[in-house]
């Protein structure tokens, strides 16, 4: 007993109190991080083929990384002409003072060499100039013509290491490419890298297509097409190019989207002016009806855990956003602002829902929390809709139309992206007019 008391008293004394003053730092800046991305060093023993040499990889790869990172709005890439140290030396051990001199806080260096089997080995290092240490070092192997993907992968790794969330550069976008006059518009499915490169058309444009959506594994695309003038939901295998009708409904099916596990497609089915939400199991082809109301229920989208579905409905009189459990129970309205709400899309992070809002003759893209609180409008314009999330839930892509003049000329539709914060609005260049974009998941899963 005595011992216990002695111990007790001893413990009381032993808990040392910090003697200094404490200051709570709860605010920092969100300025772009000043970064140096050095040219990569081409190993002297590397003998590239002439056609590869022409690409000038040691310059092009860091250039593409710079473009990716600076486009995200979180990095300020310092002018390459101001770099003091040569690529070969800085890759082995950078002279931190030289880089601090140009006010860089991080540095990316790299080395390119050729393996015996003609594969390219691209190695990079990420340095913390302020703390004088290496943060990350990785190497990728690939065929030389795949250098763009490697660059995007490196950008993703850098982004993740510094911001704490996964990147979104190694991903693609599917959209509807539009051309021709308004009265006889040709609409084709098109796919491209997230930065607008490698644009490819998937359909010929004989039938009108709408609302393409990737499957979570990026192997399939589901979309709505007017085949034989009957609007139906289709499934396209991106590897084989084969397409397949999703369910033989006696009417119009539209607004399809995959479930997060890729096993189901959720969509609207309309008959006699009433549309409801249905989910179809792709394996068993069993169809389940989820809503049963005389109103128009459409644009369904799953939460990332697959337990909930958000959709829009005009059951209350005007079109609003609703959330229900994935079995169709527990329907709750979440949008209560002025105006009408549509095309809700659940963020991959799970905490917010993006939507289109129409109010006072203006279209807005906005986000709200999943219970409807905290509505924030990110951008306002004449006409814009169809938001889609980047794989990490940081960026939203959508399309925006500019008005045509009285004769019907001059209008255009383009893809735009904007940050969750409402900043960093950027256009994404496409060869033709574009609408209905959808962002894929990351191409290489962890």
């Amino acid at each position: 007993m005595k011992k216990f008391f002695i111990n007790f008293i001893f413990i009381l004394f032993a808990t040392r109190v910090y003697a200094g003053v404490e200051v709570d730092i709860t605010r920092g800046n969100l300025n772009p991080l000043p970064s140096a991305i050095s040219d990569f060093y081409l190993d002297v023993n590397t003998k590239l083929k002439d056609n590869v040499k022409k690409i000038n990889l040691e310059h092009q790869i860091p250039e593409l990384i710079s473009k990716d990172l600076s486009r995200s709005g979180l990095f300020l890439i310092l002018d390459r002409n101001s770099y003091i140290q040569k690529p070969d030396l800085s890759h082995t051990q950078p002279r931190f003072e030289d880089w601090a001199l140009i006010k860089a806080q991080i540095l990316v260096t790299g080395k390119i060499s050729l393996e015996k089997d003609d594969r390219l080995r691209v190695e990079f290092r990420l340095w913390d100039i302020v703390s004088n240490k290496e943060l990350l070092a990785l190497a990728f192997y690939t065929t030389p013509d795949n250098w763009r993907r490697v660059s995007h992968l490196i950008s993703d790794k850098i982004y993740e290491r510094l911001t704490g969330e996964s990147g979104y550069f190694d991903s693609r976008i599917i959209y509807v490419a539009e051309s021709g006059p308004k009265t006889n518009r040709i609409k084709k499915l098109a796919i491209m890298d997230q930065d607008g490169y490698a644009n490819k058309y998937l359909t010929l444009g004989n039938e009108m297509v709408l609302t393409p959506r990737f499957s979570p594994d990026n192997k399939y695309v589901t979309y709505m097409s007017y085949y034989k003038n009957l609007p139906r939901v289709y499934l396209l295998n991106l590897e084989t190019g084969l397409q397949d009708l999703v369910g033989d409904f006696p009417g119009m099916t539209f607004a399809p989207r995959f479930s997060p596990d890729g096993k189901k497609i959720i969509m609207s089915f309309a008959k006699d002016g009433n549309s409801d939400i249905y989910a179809m199991n792709l394996k068993t082809r069993i169809v389940e009806r989820l809503t049963d109301s005389p109103a128009i229920d459409t644009s369904p989208s799953y939460s990332p855990d697959g337990n909930y579905i958000c959709f829009n409905s005009d059951r209350s009189g005007s079109q609003q956003i609703y959330v229900m459990k994935s079995d169709g129970s527990n329907v709750k309205r979440i949008s209560f602002g002025d105006g009408i709400y549509g095309t809700p899309v659940w963020s991959p992070r799970g905490d917010v829902i993006a939507f289109t809002k129409f109010h006072n003759n203006k279209f807005y893209i906005g986000v709200m929390r999943t219970d409807g609180a905290g509505e924030r409008l990110l951008t306002e314009n004449f006409y814009q809709e169809s938001p889609s999330w980047s794989p990490n839930g940081r960026v939203i892509i959508f399309y925006r139309e500019t008005p045509a003049d009285n004769s019907g000329h001059g209008g255009s539709a383009k893809l735009w992206s904007i940050d969750l914060t409402g900043y960093n609005e950027k256009i994404i260049q496409t060869p033709t007019d574009a609408s209905d974009p959808h962002w894929s998941a990351l191409l290489s899963k962890k």
Binding site: F13, G20, V21, D24, T26, L162, T163, R394
Partner: protein, 267 residues
């Protein structure tokens, strides 16, 4: 019987010893008022200095205040106020002229004149009223946050050791704000608090910086913590040397910065 009394006495003694050791704050509490009053004096000095030059003539200030109160009821007199206030300004100038003539102070050219940060901001632009209002709102909310959301900064501890005044704390916060680039992708719903202990020289340069939970940096699954800690360390290094109070070195030579990005990430 005697044996029981002995046990009881020993028990009581132990209780008295423990309470005297653990309940020290009861004694300390008595000392609290003087330490607070010292702080208040410090704040007064710091915050009053920048505003002081605005009121060149306390007399005219007083008159203006009286006028405003008197004119509130009849709105018709408003134009009159205008005509009256102009001569008032002239009065100020006259008084200043007289003062200058009598005292013959050295004239300092405008561009060399030292003005504090606060004074410069006082230049009034009627087009920016909205901005001013916005700003004042923001400032208020910040103050509210500071008072309500300080779970980490143990106040009792600071009373014992003597804390920095609010303005001194704000000065440190403002410096770190500029140097700390927040990793924007960190989750806001996790408990991420990085505490860095600094040893400072008298000139504010950092002798050593040490993360309190350094072990957590290299624990698997603590990636977010690591990224936050690295950004905090960069901030400390970029801000080195810190601009520190000129007095009371003993008070701040050991300083702990608690980095918490939650509020920013939520926004």
């Amino acid at each position: 019987m005697q044996h029981n009394i002995k046990i009881s006495l020993i028990g009581h003694l132990i209780l008295i010893v423990i309470t005297s050791l653990t309940m020290q704050f009861l004694i300390k509490k008595v000392e609290l008022p003087p330490s607070i009053s010292v702080d208040l004096v410090d704040i007064g000095k710091k915050t009053n200095i920048p505003y002081a030059p605005k009121y060149n003539d306390t007399k005219s200030d007083k008159i203006e205040k009286d006028r405003v109160v008197a004119n509130q009821a009849p709105p018709k007199i408003v134009p009159k106020e205008k005509t009256d206030t102009i001569p008032l300004q002239e009065n100020i100038k006259k008084i200043q002229d007289i003062l200058e003539k009598n005292q013959k102070p050295e004239k300092v050219e405008d561009k060399n004149k030292q003005t504090s940060e606060f004074e410069q901001k006082e230049v009034f632009d009627p087009n920016k009223i909205a901005a001013l209002i916005d700003k004042s709102k923001k400032d208020n909310s910040e103050i509210n946050k500071k008072t309500s959301l300080t779970p980490t900064q143990s106040q009792q501890k600071n009373f014992v050791t003597g804390s920095l005044t609010l303005s001194e704390q704000d000065a440190i916060k403002t410096q770190i704000f500029k140097c700390w680039n927040i990793p924007i992708g960190l989750p806001y719903n996790e408990n991420l608090l990085v505490r860095i202990r600094l040893k400072l020289n008298t000139d504010g340069s950092v002798i050593s910086s040490e993360i309190v939970d350094a072990g957590r940096m290299n624990t698997p699954g603590q990636n977010y913590y690591k990224i936050l800690a690295e950004s905090a360390l960069r901030a400390v290094k970029l801000c080195n040397p810190l601009k520190v109070p000129s007095k009371n070195y003993e008070k701040w030579k050991d300083m702990q910065l608690n980095f918490d990005a939650k509020e920013m990430l939520k926004g």
